[in-house]
């Protein structure tokens, strides 16, 4: 009886049913079941990495990565991007005066005009960003200093904002409408783009201020209190504006009720805190014209209403114009990285091939070195 079972065991589990002839009739024993799982004989793939097995992978990776890298690189290179720093640190900078005369509560806006030239025309839609540097929007306390419920139109949160908003929770006994530090520090420069025709006429390039926020933010996450009624003033009654703001939240875009209050897209974009201290945020979109390039080559002027102070913490402000591709903005890094990694893989593949040639045959034959 045992003999058969024992042999069954030896035969590597092909007799997994054979628990012995006495199996069914006898009383149950403590004999373990002869199943592949319990006897740890599950069929398995055993990946032992050797030069021989890894080698194809390296070649494959190399062969895949290099084209991707080239593709990314080319794509990135095709993206046109123009960036201009208007912080006004430099004394020659037109905004130098404004930057030094900063106060949050300036009643008279300080304006400065920065001329620049685009040597190449920008096709398709052009995205206009403002960029901030050394601005830690990702600071732990800063990131948390908001109340999503309030922003989602919750009445209770409107009048009683979350504690996370402290110390921008209430002002003078009244709840702050978009409470918290993020809202309080809303970017409030106004950027305008003027195209200077060679004949020295100047037209203002139309900038679209909607469609810059994520759809989910605009339609789901941010909602004005009291639904879609137009009477935002009433809805925000009993609240006060954030300390640094010049106007209350319901006056952010008085002309477009769909872009006013919490659903104001500039506000929404700002509220999506940037991951890194140097960041850009979408400011406007310049939709392409039918016939001519969106931004033809030529001279432009950036008109800045300089409100936002960054010099105190060594920050910088930039305006960026960029076209985008399927891979987003201009970033040559990824393409280069892909190409580098691909090449390295390919090279290593060759090295492994040599090694495999020298050693691999031995280990395959189990001819044990040593």
């Amino acid at each position: 009886m045992m003999a058969s079972t024992y042999n069954a065991k030896e035969e590597d589990g092909h007799h997994s049913g054979a628990v012995g002839p006495g199996g069914p009739g006898t009383i149950k024993t403590k004999k373990p079941d002869n199943t592949a799982f319990k006897q740890q004989r599950l069929p398995a793939w055993q990946p032992i990495l050797t030069a021989g097995t890894v080698l194809p992978a390296f070649f494959v990776i190399g062969l895949i990565f290099i084209p991707i890298g080239i593709g990314l690189f080319v794509t990135s290179n095709n993206i046109k991007e123009f960036e201009i720093d208007y912080t006004g640190v430099d004394e020659n900078s037109p905004c130098h005066v404004c930057s030094n005369n900063y106060a949050w509560n300036n009643t008279v806006p300080c304006q400065c005009f920065i001329p620049f030239t685009l040597s190449q025309p920008f096709e398709n839609n052009v995205f206009m960003y403002y960029g901030l540097s050394n601005f830690y929007q990702n600071h732990r306390r800063y990131v948390k200093s908001r109340d999503d419920s309030q922003l989602n139109g919750d009445k209770n949160s409107l009048v009683n904002p979350s504690k996370e908003c402290e110390p921008y929770r209430k002002n003078g006994g009244l709840p702050i409408a978009p409470c918290g530090a993020i809202a309080n520090s809303l970017f409030n420069d106004t950027l305008e783009l003027l195209y200077n025709f060679p004949n020295s006429t100047t037209i203002e390039i139309p900038l679209t201020k909607t469609g810059i926020a994520w759809w989910t933010d605009k339609h789901v996450k941010f909602r004005n209190p009291g639904g879609n009624n137009n009477n935002l003033t009433a809805a925000f009654a009993g609240t006060t504006k954030p300390v640094n703001w010049r106007k209350p939240v319901f006056e952010l875009d008085p002309r477009d009720p769909n872009n006013n209050g919490f659903v104001n897209e500039d506000f929404i974009v700002w509220m999506r805190t940037a991951a890194l201290p140097t960041f850009r945020k979408l400011y406007r979109i310049i939709h392409k014209n039918k016939d001519m390039p969106t931004l033809p080559a030529g001279n432009y002027t950036l008109a800045v209403t300089y409100n936002y102070p960054v010099l105190s913490f060594d920050g910088r402000k930039r305006m960026i114009l960029s076209t985008i591709s399927w891979m987003g903005g201009k970033n040559p890094f990824l393409g280069i990285a892909y190409m580098t990694v691909g090449s390295v893989c390919f090279f290593l593949g060759v090295v492994l091939l040599i090694i495999h040639h020298n050693y691999g045959s031995r280990s395959n034959n189990a001819d044990i070195p040593n």
Binding site: M2, P43, L72, A274, V341
Partner: protein
């Protein structure tokens, strides 16, 4: 029910985690004290005792007052109740350091200034862990509760005082003082004192299998002085009071007394106690009074949970956890300082919240914040994971078919739940010999009686025949398992066929030797009752002894009519008789019949075959008349005559030679005629039945003239055709020297003749009768006698229920030696037929059952090393003490005999010498020796001793000590009868196992209590000692000598090694062992040290420790013989502590318990010697051979799996946490995280927890076949190769690298863009998950569909969670919600580009390094793993190549050194023992292995 209990035990062992101690708590220290440790027996419970009176009957009121405080019989093993569960469980859980850490983090998060996450989120890990453990605890508790209920609701019958009858009652309702009546096969509900048994002798039998696994029946006795009549016990009239000690856990001790109403006291001892959960067997009804109930019963008090040890890996792990803490603190410190600096460099930033503390303080707060943020770095979940993995590993070990023993129906038992991986790191194995290496199934092989050796060649031959085959098979198996797996696989069948065929050959099938599994199990099934085969020692027919022809001739030749009467020394004959009688009676063997194996063979009442008994007795009485008459009990009519005879024949006064024969002749003649009086009808004979041992049975009216002088003169009462005077002197001589021997001689003659009579064909028989009795040749007398004989035989047949008496009795002995001896005695016709506490039923050759009154049993005690029985000799009526025991002790006790009388000592001295010589020889042959001695007690002497003994027996305090003293008082002045040599077969596959262990780099030490020669021989047989090994012996008397010796031996070794190194081509007399495989020189040496207990004592002293260790480290193995249990544990402790190595102790008996407990891993063999070793062990296996797979396969697996899993855990945590750390550099060290905190917490807890678990449970780096065939792979575990500090730091480094890649690729890809905080986290997390999972794929050596499922499941789970979260959670996770992030990003191609690049780049180095390492310098495991993947044919070639390489290496070594194997260096052994075994040993071994070959000694050649 029995099964039920067993299952429960197993269950408790498996899952009976004590939540208060276990889990990942480091708190609970290991309780090293075994509850069963007999050493602990003297823990007196002080003067405290409990009083018990009957619950019913006259003492009801007293009962209420006295028994109020005692526990009821309800048991409750649960820890919690419904109400108390949550608080109590939480309370217990917070006793654990890990949970406290969690709690600390949670509390820290409540401090506003350091708050990192939302408060709920930090609680999640804690909540998850607490809940998981609480659920586990609750389930366990519920199962316990259900079990308790089941037990409590069992029904038993209790006497009810009101209804005046026995009524059914639940176990739970039984209370102390209740009278419980139990029937056969019922389980005892509580500890009770036996008051009544249906057995007329007042005994009952219990089986303690539920308690300790021993299945032999144990006899319990009704309290003495209680009415023993068979009538119904009247519970109401029982008015005695019991005083007994307070409840304790000592199963073998019970003290107390019973006070009757008349103030007389009777001592109670463990023989009176019926233990809870034992089973009543073989007794119709018993009544007992409950003394301990419920949790106070001994069974419950012995219910210790599983053991907790800290494994080596875990110790290592804790170090690395500390390192993690250091890294954590470092990271936090960097962040804190960075934050401070960053903050101080800022002027009025608008993104800062006003009211922040100054930079220094902010930095300080940041430190704590970061501790919360980076908490994952401390792998808390690792502890839980390890527990789970170990449980699963245990599950797999327990389910291994190859570790399952069909015969015992046990798989391996894992009692310790958390040291599975230690099995893979063992460096030293300390093994017991008997029962561990050997079967502990004894075969009687040889004996020496009064100085004459009876080699039992037939016996040996029949075994040899078997062993030849077995040996051949074994050798082949050895080669096979050693090198050629192909052959192994193919030859299995043929091997089994062969063994089957050898089973069919009758002479061989009797002796199973370990050759093969099939064999073993076949035999097991043939031999044993299929359902009851477990554990019981039933010496079945395999123990059959073929009598030695010479000895048989001596017994039988005297009576054989045709054989010439040998000139026999009557003294010798009497000794032979005594010898075998001693073998038959001097034991505690219980006889049962195979048809009812658990039922005693009842003593046939009044079945005594009167004729033969009377006949024999009379004969012997006559012969030993002088002594016999001294007996005061003899009140026979012939007393006066006897007395006169006695007066003349006192030993001191040599009797007149002329007188003696006449006496003898007369009585002999009378005896004969009385016995054989043909006219006496059976009835009359029966009425005449004398009391056995009673002296006055000689029937008057015998005719002396009926006998010819020849019958009296010749030692043989039978058939010398012509009366020859020559034998007369030889017969007449004995009385002058030793009356006893004379008596014995005659008895032998007589019995031999009778045996002959029964055995030979009837014609001869009648011739014999005619000759013996010299009766009238009356045909009808003959006929009648023949009929009588036939009647007798028929009666015997009826007794036994089948035709063959010999094969029917099953002997169940507590020690297998006893059974073997009883079997041996049986082979010579001295059959033990039954046993009761009062008497033994023995049939001597030619007699029927003979009642031997059993006066006392002085049980074996390790201090005395003896056991004795005191019986009234069935034939002479003398009080005789038969003793058997260790040769050294018996020899000493017999030695002191010299004082008794010059002549006696004169005669004894050569016998002793001879016997000693034979004993030495036996020991060299690997036989276990026992000496048998006897002592005839004067009645007065006996009476005097008896008085004191009874006092000792009845004493309540110090009973054991008094009994020991009492036994020692009587066991002296012994007369040496002879000695036996018992072979203890090696267990199957022991040599292969030991060889494999040694190849695996494990040093195997054998610690045994046996003699040196026996130990060396067994060591040879099991290939611990190879033919090429050099044997070093250390026996010394003094410490100084020991010191010198050690130094010399060490020098010797180094000299040899040097020699070998310097002149490898020259002749060297030192042979190094083979199988070097590049290990250190210490392991190479082929030296084996044999050290005896006395020397070991010196060596273990502090001053010599170092020398001893230095010596032993250079020896490949060490054999410690004559070692005590204490020494065993000392040795293990010394090695474990001083060398800091992993030790494993394996043993099967109580003497191994201390060793098992001391060792890192204790393994018990559930064998013949009860369950004490098992109870104290970490793992219990049933055969030694299982050790091989347990260590080499499971140990290796468990270790590698766990080590890899732990490394992986560390890697995983560091890798993930570092992502957060790198981010700090870009968020002003503000403790911000780029991941949603839910994902952050769940990442470790849910998304990446299952794959490593599966990895730890199922990963299989090398196949079991390869692990077994190439044991060298095991070394990787010994050297902790899988988990070295360097591997830890390397994987840390890799983790750092990977996290760098994983963070900075996305960083650079998104730098400067409008990416938001959580959006950056999305690709990083995703890439991290892929990296972590794929990293595991790279590390895994086995990927099954389960792995695939879990890996895929983890990834899918993560993405599903992320997606759902980003879709659903609008305001759920205030203040920051990840709404829309995942959906948006996962629709972008850039996301995938980033993830792909990150993953590939992160894994590239590891993949490359692995591939390069595995190709250029593969480790053993990798090579083996690669081999596993080969085609079977190539695989076999690979395995043999592997082995060949090793073999070749050693062979080349051997070629250079023609060996002088095992040459004992003459100057090195300072042998203190006068009978030096050395000189004789060496040539023998030398002769056996004249050439340095690789053929190991066949077991047969050693053992025969």
């Amino acid at each position: 029910m029995e099964r039920f209990h067993w299952v429960r035990h197993r269950w408790q062992h498996l899952v009976g985690l004590d939540p208060g101690r276990g889990w990942y708590a480091p708190a609970a220290p290991l309780s090293t004290k075994s509850p069963l440790d007999t050493q602990d027996a003297h823990r007196l419970t002080g003067g405290k005792s409990r009083t018990v009176v009957a619950h019913c009957g006259p003492h009801l009121s007293v009962h209420r007052s006295t028994c109020k405080g005692y526990h009821g019989n309800r048991i409750s093993t649960t820890k919690y109740s419904l109400l108390s569960f949550i608080p109590k469980n939480l309370f217990e859980q917070f006793h654990r350091a890990a949970n406290l850490y969690f709690l600390f983090l949670v509390l820290l998060n409540w401090v506003p200034v350091v708050e990192a996450f939302q408060k709920e989120i930090t609680m999640i890990p804690l909540a998850v862990v607490l809940t998981a453990i609480a659920i586990k605890d609750a389930l366990e508790d519920y199962r316990r509760y259900r079990y308790d209920q089941k037990i409590n609701n069992n029904v038993t019958t209790v006497y009810c005082g009101k209804q005046h009858k026995y009524v059914d009652r639940r176990w739970a309702d039984v209370c102390v003082g209740d009278m419980v009546r139990l029937c056969c096969n019922e389980i005892i509900p509580a500890d009770m004192v036996l008051l009544h048994s249906s057995d007329p002798k007042g005994v009952c039998f219990i089986e303690t299998a539920n308690l300790d696994g021993e299945t032999n029946l144990k006899q319990r006795q009704v309290v003495r002085d209680l009415p023993q009549e068979g009538s119904e016990f009247n519970a109401e009239t029982f008015s005695s009071r019991l005083e007994c000690e307070n409840p304790n856990n000592n199963l073998r001790r019970f003290r107390g007394y019973m006070e009757h109403p008349n103030r007389t006291r009777v001592g109670l001892h463990s023989d009176n106690l019926l233990l809870r959960s034992c089973t009543v067997r073989n007794t119709e009804t018993v009544v007992g009074i409950v003394v301990y109930a419920g949790h106070e019963t001994k069974a419950m008090q012995n219910n210790s949970g599983p053991r907790y040890k800290r494994s080596k890996l875990e110790r290592r792990l804790n170090v690395d956890v500390l390192w993690s803490v250091v890294i954590l603190l470092l990271m936090c410190l960097i962040t804190a300082i960075g934050h401070g600096l960053w903050l101080s460099s800022l002027k009025d930033p608008i993104f800062l919240i006003p009211g922040d503390p100054p930079p220094a303080l902010a930095g300080f707060y940041m430190f704590w914040t970061m501790i919360i943020v980076l908490q994952v770095l401390i792998p808390i979940s690792l502890y839980v994971s390890i527990e789970i993995v170990k449980l699963c590993q245990i599950y797999f070990i327990q389910n291994d078919l190859e570790l399952y023993s069909e015969r015992l129906d046990t798989a391996v038992q894992c009692r310790a739940l958390n040291i599975t991986e230690d099995l893979g790191q063992i460096q030293y194995v300390f093994s017991d010999k008997t029962g561990t290496l050997t079967e502990n199934r004894m075969l009687f092989r040889r004996c020496t009686i009064s100085g004459t050796e009876y080699p039992h060649h037939e016996n040996a031959q029949s075994q040899e025949m078997y062993e030849e085959q077995a040996g051949a098979g074994g050798a082949e198996g050895g080669v096979v398992s050693g090198s050629h797996t192909l052959r192994s696989r193919s030859s299995r069948r043929s091997l089994s066929c062969r063994s089957l065929s050898c089973n069919r050959s009758p002479s061989v099938s009797l002796n199973t030797l370990a050759c093969d599994d099939e064999d073993e199990d076949n035999d097991a099934h043939d031999d044993m009752h299929p359902t009851l085969g477990r554990g019981a020692y039933s010496s079945a027919m395999e123990c059959l002894v073929v009598p030695d022809p010479l000895l048989q001739l001596k017994l039988g030749g005297l009576t054989a009519p045709l054989a010439p009467p040998l000139k026999q020394d009557a003294a010798e004959l009497s000794t032979i008789l005594d010898f075998f009688l001693a073998l038959a009676v001097c034991n505690t063997v219980v006889v049962s019949s195979p048809t009812q194996p658990r039922h005693m063979v009842q003593l046939p009442a009044a079945r005594t075959p009167l004729r033969s008994l009377e006949e024999m007795k009379l004969m012997l009485q006559k012969l030993s008349l002088p002594r016999f008459t001294l007996s005061p009990t003899s009140s026979s009519p012939s007393q006066a005559a006897n007395a006169t005879a006695a007066a003349t024949a006192l030993p001191a006064t040599p009797p007149p030679p002329q007188q003696q024969p006449s006496f003898t002749r007369r009585f002999f003649a009378r005896g004969r005629s009385a016995t054989y009086t043909p006219n006496t009808p059976p009835d009359t004979r029966r009425t005449n039945t004398p009391e056995p041992g009673g002296g006055g049975s000689s029937t008057p009216g015998a005719t002396p003239g009926n006998l010819t002088p020849a019958q009296t003169g010749t030692p043989s009462p039978c058939p010398s055709p012509s009366p020859s005077p020559s034998p007369s002197p030889s017969y007449l001589k004995p009385p002058t020297t030793n009356n006893n021997t004379a008596l014995g001689a005659c008895a032998i003659n007589m019995s031999a003749s009778l045996e002959n009579f029964f055995n030979s064909d009837s014609d001869t028989v009648f011739n014999a009768i005619g000759a013996v009795s010299n009766d009238n040749d009356d045909a009808d007398k003959k006929q009648r006698y023949k009929e009588d004989v036939e009647d007798e035989e028929e009666e015997e047949e009826e007794d036994d229920g089948s035709s063959d008496e010999g094969e029917q009795l099953l002997y169940e002995a507590e020690s297998p030696d006893e059974a073997a001896l009883v079997q041996a005695a049986k082979a010579y016709g001295f059959t033990l037929l039954g046993r009761s506490p009062e008497q033994l039923l023995v049939s001597l050759p030619g007699t029927g059952p003979l009642q031997v009154p059993l006066l006392h049993v002085l049980p074996f005690h390790s201090a005395r090393k003896l056991m004795s029985v005191m019986v009234r000799h069935p034939l002479t009526g003398h009080v005789v003490l038969y003793t058997k025991g260790a040769d050294s002790v018996v020899m000493d006790l017999a030695h002191s005999d010299a004082a008794g009388g010059d002549k006696v000592s004169h005669q004894q001295a050569p016998i002793r010498e001879q016997t000693q010589r034979h004993l030495d020889q036996y020991a060299r042959e690997g036989l276990r020796t026992l000496c048998v001695a006897k002592k005839v007690l004067e009645e007065a002497e006996y009476e005097a001793w008896l008085k004191k003994h009874v006092l000792a027996e009845t004493s309540i305090e110090n009973r054991e000590e008094l009994l020991l003293e009492s036994a020692q008082r009587i066991e002296n002045n012994l007369t040496l009868l002879g000695a036996t040599g018992i072979m203890d077969r090696l267990q199957e596959e022991v040599p292969e196992t030991i060889e494999a262990l040694q190849k695996a780099g494990i040093k195997v030490w054998v610690l045994t209590g046996d003699k040196q020669e026996t130990a060396v021989n067994i060591a040879c047989a099991c290939r611990l000692l190879r033919p090429t090994d050099r044997l070093l012996t250390a026996n010394c008397d003094s410490k100084e000598a020991c010191e010198i010796l050690m130094a010399e031996l060490t020098d010797e070794i180094s000299r040899c090694e040097q020699q070998q190194q310097q002149h490898p081509t020259k002749t060297s007399d030192c042979v190094s062992g083979d199988y070097t495989n590049g290990v250190t020189a210490e392991a190479v040496s082929g030296f084996t040290l044999v050290i005896d207990g006395r020397t070991l004592d010196w060596a273990l002293q502090a001053e010599l420790e170092e020398a001893f260790l230095a010596l032993t480290r250079r020896c490949r193995s060490v054999i410690c013989c004559r070692s005590t249990p204490l020494q065993k544990s000392q040795v293990v402790r010394l090695i474990r502590d001083t060398l800091a190595v992993m030790t494993l102790a394996i043993g099967d008996g109580a003497n191994d318990v201390s060793m098992i407990q001391v060792a890192d891993v204790g393994i018990g063999i559930s064998g013949q010697e009860g369950m004490q070793a098992v109870m104290s062990s970490d793992f219990a296996i049933s055969r030694f051979k299982h050790l091989r797979k347990l260590l080499l396969v499971h140990g290796h697996w468990c270790y590698t799996r766990l080590a890899n899993m732990i490394l992986y855990f560390f890697y995983k945590n560091v890798m993930y946490v570092n992502l957060l750390f790198w981010y700090q550099f870009f968020c002003g060290f503000s403790g911000s995280v780029m991941t949603n905190s839910w994902v952050l917490i769940f990442f470790n807890l849910l998304f990446t927890s299952a794959p490593p678990l599966l990895y730890g449970i199922l990963d299989k780096d090398v196949s079991p076949e390869t692990l077994l065939s190439i044991p060298q792979i095991y070394k990787s575990g010994q050297d902790s190769q899988a988990y070295l500090p360097s591997t830890f730091w390397l994987s840390m480094l890799d983790a750092f690298y990977q996290s760098l890649v994983c963070f900075f690729i996305p960083y650079f890809a998104y730098a400067g863009s409008d990416i938001s905080v959580f959006s950056l986290g999305s690709p990083i997390n995703s890439a991290a998950l892929l990296i972590i999972l794929l990293h595991q794929v790279i590390e895994s050596r086995t990927l099954t569909w389960l792995h695939g499922l879990v890996l895929l499941g983890s990834a899918v789970f993560y993405y599903a969670f992320g997606l759902v979260f980003s879709v659903v959670c609008v305001t759920c996770n205030s203040p920051t919600n990840p709404l829309g992030i995942e959906t948006r990003f996962m629709s972008e191609p850039l996301y995938y580009c980033v993830c792909a690049l990150t993953t590939v780049l992160a894994l590239l180095p590891r993949m490359l390094v692995r591939a390069l390492c595995n190709t250029i310098r593969p480790s053993d495991t990798v090579r083996a793993g690669l081999m596993d993947r080969l085609h079977p044919l190539e695989y076999n070639a690979g395995v043999s190549q592997w082995q060949d390489r090793l073999r070749h290496r050693s062979a080349s070594k051997l070629q250079t050194s023609p060996t002088v194997p095992l040459r004992r260096p003459p100057n090195l052994s300072i042998n203190a023992d006068p009978p030096s075994p050395g000189p004789s040993l060496s040539p023998k071994l030398h002769h056996r292995h004249p050439h340095p070959t690789h053929d190991y000694p066949q077991p047969s050649s050693v053992l025969t």
